[in-house]
Symmetry: C2
Subunit: 329 residues, 2 copies
């Protein structure tokens, strides 16, 4: 959403206090309430709005999953432990009076809160068009926070899980008549879209080796672009190496699957960069946590003015027609 | 909004961690990230949604004021020092492309951030129907937090400033043809509605004497009812003592002014209870800060099952037809 880069310009004001270690422009802000402690609080806020991030007929369970998990994913990308969150819920009258809807929404939120060890401390409920804003707070040691600005030339670019599944699932959300090649493909892709799995445990496990990470919400190329700009480097990725699921390839074919994997949003996998000397440690953690890790590229030098992500296909430069992801609107 | 009491039932789940001192049901949640420090973080979240809390033609300056000040007011009611906040902004396309609107909104936010010493750490911008959600964090010493549950039988019930002005201002917002008795009345009442003044400095100054406070967002009677329920007491207030402005009385007459003062929302004054022995200290602080304080009632005993607010007019019980405030919707 290019218009929102413009908006971001309007919200840089005031003198940054000493207590603010990192503010706008990473997955989370980092604050240091206690000057004598090296423990930081990582804070992030995400809004999901009907018609922009989801369709109004979304199931309450999927809405709860997506609302909390996108926030948890931001904490995962910082290597922060989830702790407390607040919930601002705007509900149309029919939903506010629908006990079944509310009960399913809250049960899913309760299940995820238990799974990820975070606690709902409060919030606000309002009448209006369906929207959910969650603000979550986690904890991270100052020296172990994974920042976008920490990529180093020579680092490997890695991703967790498989990419593009959520973009595939979105096609089924948008087109109710879309035929599934196999029912199990549709089921897998929709689950990946509706119930993203934040890589919290993985982020906590790798942060001792990894200094730079981001979660993939806008698409690999778009999100890796944030890393190279913040770190003042460039990157290249090899499209043939992108991890894609059997379901995605089976449903959409190799070419479209690759496009979704490079540019599709809402996967909420992690993209991180790591010094090659730690690759074995990372692979060990991948095995321990059961989360696949794939090396998809590397960080390269860039001249000062051009921090870019180059996409290669079998070693040859390959332009992607669509960079990033624009949600519904 | 009675429907939302029902909703609140759905969001009490999970085991409250030791780090959570106070959660849902007060102006702020209180958390204790550092077990060895007596400093707590006070956290609150408020959403303003077009059509519910304001009309879509609201000025960007008024929207910024109301969005931040309602949150600051929650911190004021806890006696907390404002520190950091995040902003989730949902904007229709025409506003997202309106540089003047964005600039006026952000300038007002910047001015208030400086005035109250808080800092915007991040947030989210989204396309959709106009809405603002702010989540703010303040700091307060554990022993000095002013809680709804701390009212004691025999305490005086006090309020800051004048009451009912915002309800009066709202009439001018809702009815563009409403004739002002004097232009200055309309100007005063609209300013009180559009630019509420959170009593942050006052809250910080009195918290050494005051254990129980709430900010008046839903109307004095409704908000005092929250106090008596949380403290398991009752209260009586004397309607003839409610502080009303010349503008409110001049515009609407004594009877309507009294009704607005007792039940009108959006004033964002503080209602607090205090042991009579500290009244002189409170009056001294009122003088120092330039914030009027009025004793409007007292906390009384209640039998276990009925924690209620009784309204008196010149000592006689007087029923109010309208208890609380229902916003626009």
């Amino acid at each position: 959403m290019a218009e929102f880069e413009l908006i971001a310009q309007h919200f840089s004001f005031g003198h940054k206090p000493n207590t603010v270690v990192l503010d706008k422009g990473d997955d989370c802000a980092l604050i240091k309430p206690n000057p004598s402690s090296s423990n930081l609080l990582a804070i992030t806020t995400d809004s999901l709005v009907a018609g922009t991030h989801f369709l109004a007929d979304i199931s309450p369970k999927a809405l709860a999953s997506r609302a909390l998990n996108t926030n948890l994913s931001d904490l995962a990308a910082m290597g922060a432990t989830p702790k407390w969150y607040s919930l601002a819920l705007t509900l149309p009258k029919d939903i506010a009076n629908n006990q079944t809807w509310l009960s399913e929404f809250s049960q899913q939120l309760a299940a995820l809160s238990e799974e990820y060890g975070c606690y709902l401390i409060g919030g606000d409920t309002t009448s209006g068009p369906l929207a959910v804003t969650i603000s979550i707070i986690g904890e991270v040691e100052h020296s172990q926070a994974m920042l976008r600005e920490n990529a180093q030339v020579g680092d490997l670019v890695c991703v967790t899980g498989s990419l593009g599944d959520a973009a595939g699932g979105l096609q089924f959300v948008l087109d109710k008549d879309l035929t599934a090649v196999k029912p199990v493909y549709k089921q897998h892709l929709l689950a990946r879209f509706n119930h993203p799995t934040p890589r919290v445990a993985f982020g906590l496990a790798v942060k001792q080796y990894v200094c730079c990470a981001i979660d993939i919400s806008d698409g690999l190329v778009a999100d890796l672009s944030h890393i190279v700009k913040a770190s003042q480097v460039s990157a290249e990725i090899e499209l043939s190496q992108l991890p894609v699921s059997d379901a995605l390839v089976g449903q959409f074919g190799q070419t479209q699957a690759c496009q979704y994997a490079a540019t599709g949003g809402d996967d909420y996998e992690l993209c991180f960069t790591v010094n090659p000397q730690h690759l074995m440690d990372i692979n060990k953690i991948a095995e321990q946590t059961g989360i696949a890790v794939t090396v998809v590229g590397r960080i390269t030098e860039s001249d000062q003015s051009n921090h870019s992500v180059t996409t290669l296909l079998n070693g040859q430069v390959q332009q992607l027609t669509q960079l990033g992801y624009q949600h519904f609107a």
